[in-house]
Symmetry: C2
Subunit: 341 residues, 2 copies
Amino acid sequence: MRAAVMYGAGDVRIEDRPDPKIVDPTDAVVRTLAACVCGSDLWPYASMPATDTGRPMGHEFLVVEETGADVTGLTAGDLVVAPFTYSDNTCDYCVKGLHISCRNGGRYGFDGVDGGQGEAVRVPYAAGTVVKLPVAADSALLPSLLALSDVMTTGHHGAVTAGVGRGDAVLVVGDGAVGLCAVIAAKRLGAERIVLAGRHEARTTLGREFGATDVVAERGEESIVRIREMTGGVDKVIEAVGTRQALDTALGAVLDGGTISRLGVPQYEQGPIGPAAFMRNITMTGGASPARAYIPELLADVLDGSITPGHVFDKTFTLDRTPDAYRAMADRQVLKALIRP
Amino acid sequence: MRAAVMYGAGDVRIEDRPDPKIVDPTDAVVRTLAACVCGSDLWPYASMPATDTGRPMGHEFLVVEETGADVTGLTAGDLVVAPFTYSDNTCDYCVKGLHISCRNGGRYGFDGVDGGQGEAVRVPYAAGTVVKLPVAADSALLPSLLALSDVMTTGHHGAVTAGVGRGDAVLVVGDGAVGLCAVIAAKRLGAERIVLAGRHEARTTLGREFGATDVVAERGEESIVRIREMTGGVDKVIEAVGTRQALDTALGAVLDGGTISRLGVPQYEQGPIGPAAFMRNITMTGGASPARAYIPELLADVLDGSITPGHVFDKTFTLDRTPDAYRAMADRQVLKALIRP
C-alpha cells in the first residue's frame, strides 16, 4: 500500500509499504477513506532530526472496515471514525473516560502501527477504538465526522476542562483548527462571550461563524492589553497553540482564580508555575484529549447539523500529494488539509 | 511597641517600633493576643539578603480590637482572628471568595503595615478582614482559632481545590502544619483514604490523629514507588511543601487525569508542565488560600470541637523569644510556634 512517511524536518515521502495484516485478534485492518494533516504533525515537520527508517504519519482518519476481523460490533463495510489514539475501552482509565491514557493504548505511526495517512491501517483494539458512523461513504457530513477524530474532540476537551458553562466569557488563544473547534465547543456549552485571539483573517472569520463574539489580532503584550480592555480579564482560557508565547498570553489575560486549559502540545519542558502563578491561584488543566470518550456525544450534534467542524478543512489533497499538504499547512496557506487516498 | 523584624537570613530581632495609629478611616488598630511563626516565614529566614531597614514579620494573629475605630461591626474589646492578608471584602475578587486577590488587599509587614509578630497591628480594611470570635480571651480554643488565620484555612483550600469528596483517596505531601491541616480538611470533606508523605515521626503521628490512614516516610523516587504500591496511584494530591522535590513526588504519585493542588509557596520559578504532564492530563491547581472566605465555615467546626487544628502548636514563646522560635522551627525541633506578646 502507499502511505506517507516522515524522514525528518520538511521531508515527507509517499512510499510503498507492506499491506497491514491482523497481528492480534483484537486488531482490525481497515481501508482509509479520508485522513488529514494535524497541526501537531507540523511540529516534527519543523524539527524532526533526519532518520533512515522514517515514521508513518497521520492519526486522524475515517475508514471502512475491510477484513471482517473477529472484533465485536464491527462488520466488513462499516464506516467508522478512528480517534487519534487507540484504546481498549475497558481498562480503568478508559472506564473513567480517559482513553488517551489507556493501559493498552498507543499512537498511530509508532510501535509497528501504521499511520492514518495511507491506504490502510491496522487498528489495534479496534472494538474499543473506532466508532461506527450511521452514514454512507459519500455523505456530505464526512469532513465534520473526520474532525471528530481529533480537532473537534480536542476543542471540546478544552471547553470541558476549562469548565465552560452557560453565560461564561471564554478566551480561545489560537486560530488553528483546534482553536476554531474550541470556539464551537465553548458556544455549544453555553458561553456567551467568546474572544478569539488570532491574526489570520480567513481563520478568524471562520471563528466568528463558529461563534466567536470578538477577535483580537494583536500579539504578545499588546494582545493582553487589548483582551483586558475588552473584557476586564476572563475566568476561562483555552490555549490551543502550545508555544510559550500563547501560554504567556493566556496567563496575562486570565483573572486571578481562573483556569487555563492547554490543548496545544507544549513546545517547552518547563513553564511559569512559580510564586506569581501560585499567588494568583491559576489552575492549569487540559492536556491530550480522550477523543474516544467524546465522540458519541459530539457525533449526535454533527449528524443533526448543529455543529459543522468540517468547515476547518479548506483544501483536499490526494494521498500522493500529502507532502504538498504539509508544506501548505506549514506555510499557513491551508488551515487544515483533508487527504483522500 | 515591641515587634519582630527580620534583617536577613537567620537574623530576626525584637525591636521598639512606633505604636500603630489609624491612617485611613477603614483601619483598626488592634492589640495582639497571640501570633505565630509560619512555615513560609522560614523561606526568608533561610535566604533573605541582609537589609538595613528590616521587614516586620508575622501574618497570623488573634487580636483584641483596641481603638474602637469607626469600622462597621467591630467594638473595642472584640476578640477577632485576622486572616493572613487583609482585604476589603467588597471588590469583585472578594465577592467571588478570592480574598487573597483583593483589589485593595495586601500583606502584613509590607507597605507600612505592621507584622503580626508584635504587640499591636494597624489592620487596613478591618471590617472586611477580621472575623469576630464568640469566645473569651482565655478560651482553651484559642490555638485552634489562631490556626484559622492561615494553616487550617490553607489546608482546607488544598482539599477544596483538589476536589476532595466523599470516599476519595488523597495524598498529602508534607508533614508541616499546613500538610497536617490538609489532612484534617480532607477527612472533613469525606476522604476515605488519606496517605501522608512525611518522615518526621512526631508529625506523622499527629497526622494519624488528624485522620491520615497511611504514612509514607520514604523520600523522592522511593516514596513514589511506595505510594503506588499502596494505592495504585491517587487522583487527588495536596502538595504542602513548595519544593521541586515535593512537586516531583506529587507528579509521580498522581494518576493520569488527576489533580495536584499546591499549597506550599513554590521555591522555583519554572516547573515541569511540558509534554509529559500534558499527555497525562495533570491538572495543577491550588495557590495562596483566600483564608477570609473559609473562616466562617471552619470556625463553626472549631467551636463545636469537630476539628482541632490548634494541636499543630507544640511550643509557646514570649514575643521577646521570637528569634528562638524561628530557630527552633528552622531546625525542625518545633512544628509550629505560638507567640504570646
